[in-house]
Amino acid sequence: MSRARANIAGAIGFTTVMVVLPLIVRGRYFIGVFTLGLIYGIWAASWDFMSGLTGRENFGHALFIGAGAYTAAFLNTVWMANPWWSLPAAACVAVAFSLVVGIPTLRLSGPYFALATLAAAAILQRLALIFWERTGGEDGLQGIAPLLGSPLGLYYLCLFSLVAIVAILLAISASPWGLILRAIGADELACRASGHNTTLYKVVAFAIGAAPAGLGGALYAHHQLQAGPQLLSVFVSVSVITMAYVGGIGSVYGAAIGAILLTFLTELLRGAGEWRLLVYSAVLVLVVFFRPHGLVAPLWHALSGVGE
């Protein structure tokens, strides 16, 4: 079997497993955990698209996630808009934030971009607390209407979103456009010497990655029925990065699957409370040390290449 066919078979196999999973492991709690895993999958895949391919690490992905969630919350609870408007609006707001942060910082070399993304998420989180009368402060905005009548319906909507987003991001990364992004990740200077406006590529990739993150934020808000400042925290950004690293950086699909697996692991560790952060850090350190290319993507690469 060729690698391309193996990849298609793998994608169908994964989707099938995720389709039947909530039918086998029943219960509202488990469906909630699986839905959360899929949303984290969207966030990790969207982070990996830009940062994994170009090597410019975004330490503030929570900015887009939180912006998407608050957009959904404001639209639904303040302006009483139909919940379905949340999804495109959240993606658009996240893209707008990505342009504001990305245009001035992605042209610079060094750590400015990473610091700017980190600071931008922290600033938005602080603003959410300062303007507590409008944002709900620590508690966030409550009472968001569900998108669909049943948790299972939302699960399948999230699964559809994840599969569609990963398919789109993989198609872009396999295109000539994606080749340039990989070249930027390998050696940005040499890429400029090959005639490419690398800043433009990075800004557009950042915006493309921001859109699904915002959409995922809106899905999260409609899943939890609230949007709070904790979504803008460093913990969320670091979790997403950890998931992408564990899955396999630069692969997109690996990041998504890594996110799902780590979400399940997190739920297993729920009793450990704040120690979860330590576990996350330990997992990241171990993976970086022993498997620098991650777990899921290299494993699949090896398996799909068998017989070639």
Binding site: L179, R182, A183, A190, C191, R192, A193, S194, G195, H196
Partner: protein
Amino acid sequence: MSTLLQVTELSKRFGGVYAIRNISFSVSAGKINGILGPNGAGKTTLFDLLTGFLTPNRGEVRLSGTLLTGQRADRIVNLGCARTFQLCRPFAGLTVVQNVMVGCLAPSVRNFRTTHARALQILEGTGLGDKASLPAHALSQGDLRRLEIARALGTKPRLLLLDEPFSGLSAHEAEVLSALIRQLNENEGITVLMIEHRLRDLMLLAERLLVMDSGEVIADGEPEAVMREPAVVAAYIGAQE
């Protein structure tokens, strides 16, 4: 023969130190030109100024009359001036053919339908055809040098700047590369400006030699004549007592 590159009173200062001081020269279309000079002479800085990786404090660079000074590096490549680097910079995660495709995808020359075929054609021409599907980092030093040239050729340059292309190559690899550079010049009509320390290889290829020392051009002309000039002898061997 028409002038392809015109450099006028170019200067570059880092703090109070001049890396390039008031350099002027021109390059005729269709020739192989060499740049020679001891370490710290300002040769690579000159390349960085010509290709937009550095901005000069004074002076200007024109390619066929078009002002290059102040343009972005990628824009300069799309105007027809490509370069290689002193240390090979392959795109390590990509295959050999993908490396060349990155060059072929430069906005001024790209054709999405033929990118792969054109990259393979360039690899055949540079002697790397059988290594197209290998990862770039698996290549030998000699092959990496050719890959850098192949990637630059993807952008269809009129002027090719080579920064120490023979560095680290065996005698055989240098011979192969020399033949490639001559072929590109004679068959493709590409003008070459190359920095090189290996005098023997440079003298065999260059039709004209520019010698730099301490950020200035100290000699310019036919290679044999230039190497006899007292200033060049002094810079390389030391002044006579």
